[in-house]
Amino acid sequence: MDLIEVHDLVKVYLVGDVFVHALRGVSLSIQRGEFVAVMGPSGSGKSTFMHILGCLDRPTKGTYRLEEMDVGHLSRDDLATIRKKKLGFVFQTFNLLSRTSALENVELPLVYDGVPSRERRRKALEALRAIGLEDRAHHYPNQLSGGEQQRVAIARALINTPSVILADEPTGNLDSETGAEILGLFQQLNQERGITLVLVTHDPDVAAYADRVIHFRDGRVIQDVLRSTVHIK
């Protein structure tokens, strides 16, 4: 069973009075436990692809099946439920809530899932322990380094035990050493806990951490590389 299966995804935006074809027919599948990097220049459609995978956007045409469920054309609120239950997000700018402790930031997805506060606390502490930031639980984001902030964000993405974690340029705001630490953490989560990761980047060094690299250009997949084997589409 494929974890993610997209077929002939098309996305057309209307910008002013010009139609922009962001995706021109993308078909691929991602298996459970894969670590996938999505690459491509800006305007290649990789961000649009990630927004659709993240249920933040809906395709104009085509199907998107997540765990065999057709989620491509759900309502806004149903998409919110999918994001809450099955997806985790890591952003380039971390997107932690200011004036809110690391612990409470990690708890946030559970708040919208109606989990009681005692259980939220327990799970959030557990998630912070897993990424080695237990002692920073009561620090505010402005008291944490960039790398620490991103790790808190990863703990937040893990808290609801998602089917897949989507990371959008997660090392873009970090120096290369810290970035390597974050990528190492991703690799560790993937290998030790079997967590499925899809990571968007324009940096080949970042993509090198992944098992599979998908290249986008002009709204199409032009190359799908699995480990050392190259498949040209």
């Binding site: 927004h51 933040l56 609120d77 919110a80 994001r83 809450k84 946030l108 919208y112 506060s117």
Partner: protein
């Protein structure tokens, strides 16, 4: 999302911007306080008018001598006092539902006691007058019908006259002079307070009508039995209109007026006069409340303004909340709760401030104020309604943000 978590999120957001939240709340505080204080002033004025009306006596018809002044030729020129004591007797005997009838003459005179003197209103009347005006004698006694028949020189003093002439001393049995005539003080009236027109009702001396005409005010050219006015107290308010009609027709008959002649007297239904004054007080209260409500609306606009700024500033936060699974109505609720918390808090403080302001107004300016619990409830729910009404638009705006745009908002 559970309600308690929503409340915590709203409170945290408001605490994050204490000064801004405080200033926004101030608009509501001032608005609610203004409503409470103004409604208190308006209610106080209405209560005062009602109290004055009650103090004058209820279910009263006042018949005045002389032709009406409204329109047409004035009849009976030179014979002003067209009513007589016999008219009063006839009304008492023939009209249904009459409780008391008092014929009166009035005038002013200088009153002297010892080295004190005072100019006051002399009311010459019959004992029924005390009943009609619902005005008890608290010290001594009223005069009797026999004393009216005998034109006895006895006087009942109003509180103002009593204090001007006697101060703290016991007046009963003392001899005062009204004009040049000595009178024995037999009683003192209860306090009555100012009339609806603002004149001092306690500045009065009540003496028998016969004595007044023969010894103090002088006889009218119209005849020894003539009087200036007749006061009629009916048994219930719904008898007033019918009583007015019957008295008019009785008096026209007694005065032998032709159908084409105008009345040589006028009947005033005091209930109508008072209704007009009540209406004025009511309008005043409404006007004050309406003006104060404007400031509450201005406060509401302040909330809306600050909530719009807040939504714009927190666009990324909203984007993140949506990304991790918040549904539209949860975002809407969060911002609505912030607005309502601001307005309810402002409402509570405003109610306290408004009550304080009312106390200060009645203490310093001497205005009568009345704080009704209904007004407090109304102010509380109004402030909640202001929060919901003015918070809804910004909250809806937040709930409709596109998460992708919101997450990339700079």
């Amino acid at each position: 999302m559970r309600l308690i978590d929503g409340t915590k999120i709203a409170l945290r957001a408001l605490r994050a911007n204490r000064l801004r939240s405080g200033l926004t709340t101030l608009g509501i505080i001032i608005g609610v306080a203004a409503v409470i204080a103004m409604v208190a002033v308006g209610s106080g004025a209405r209560a005062q008018v009602a109290e004055q009306i009650r103090s004058f006596g209820t279910n009263l018809l006042l018949i005045l001598s002389g032709s009406t002044t409204s329109g047409g030729i004035r009849l009976g020129f030179g014979t002003v006092l067209t009513l007589t004591e016999d008219d009063a007797k006839a009304i008492a005997a023939e009209i249904q539902g009459v409780e008391a009838v008092a014929a009166s003459v009035r005038g002013t005179a200088q009153v002297v006691y010892g080295d004190q003197n005072w100019s006051t209103l002399i009311q010459g009347t019959t004992p029924e007058w005390f009943v009609a005006r619902e005005w008890p004698v608290v010290k001594g006694r009223p005069f009797t019908p026999q004393e009216v028949d005998g034109a006895t020189k006895v006087a009942v003093l109003g509180q103002t006259v009593f204090q001007m002439l006697f101060g703290e001393a016991d007046p009963l049995g003392s001899i005062i002079r009204i004009g040049k005539v000595p009178f024995t003080v037999i009683g003192v009236l209860d306090w009555k307070g100012p009339s609806t027109m603002g004149s001092d009702q306690d500045d009065i001396i009540v003496i028998p009508v016969s004595t007044a005409k023969q010894k103090v005010l002088g006889m009218s050219r119209a005849g020894p039995r003539s009087v200036g006015s007749i006061m009629v107290k009916m048994r219930s308010p719904d008898l007033l209109d019918e009583g007015e009609r019957q008295i008019t027709s009785l008096l026209r008959q007694r005065h032998r007026l032709h159908p084409d002649q105008e009345n040589d007297f006028s009947v005033r239904n005091l209930a109508e006069v008072f209704a007009a004054q009540e209406e004025i007080a009511r309008t005043l209260a409404l006007l004050l409340g309406a003006i104060a409500s404007v400031s509450l609306v201005v406060g509401g606009i302040g909330i809306m303004n600050i909530m719009l700024v807040s939504v714009a500033e927190r666009t990324r936060e909203i984007g993140l909340r949506v990304a991790v699974g918040a549904r539209s109505h949860e975002i809407l609720l969060q911002f609505l709760m912030e607005a309502v918390t601001l307005s309810l808090f402002g409402g509570l403080v405003g109610i306290g401030l408004g009550i304080g302001a009312s106390k200060v107004l009645s203490g310093l300016a001497g205005w009568p104020t009345l704080i009704a619990s209904r007004a407090i409830l109304l102010a509380f729910f109004s402030s909640a309604a202001v929060g919901i009404f003015f918070g809804y638009y910004p909250a809806r705006k937040a709930s409709r943000l596109d998460p992708i745009e919101a997450l990339h908002y700079e």
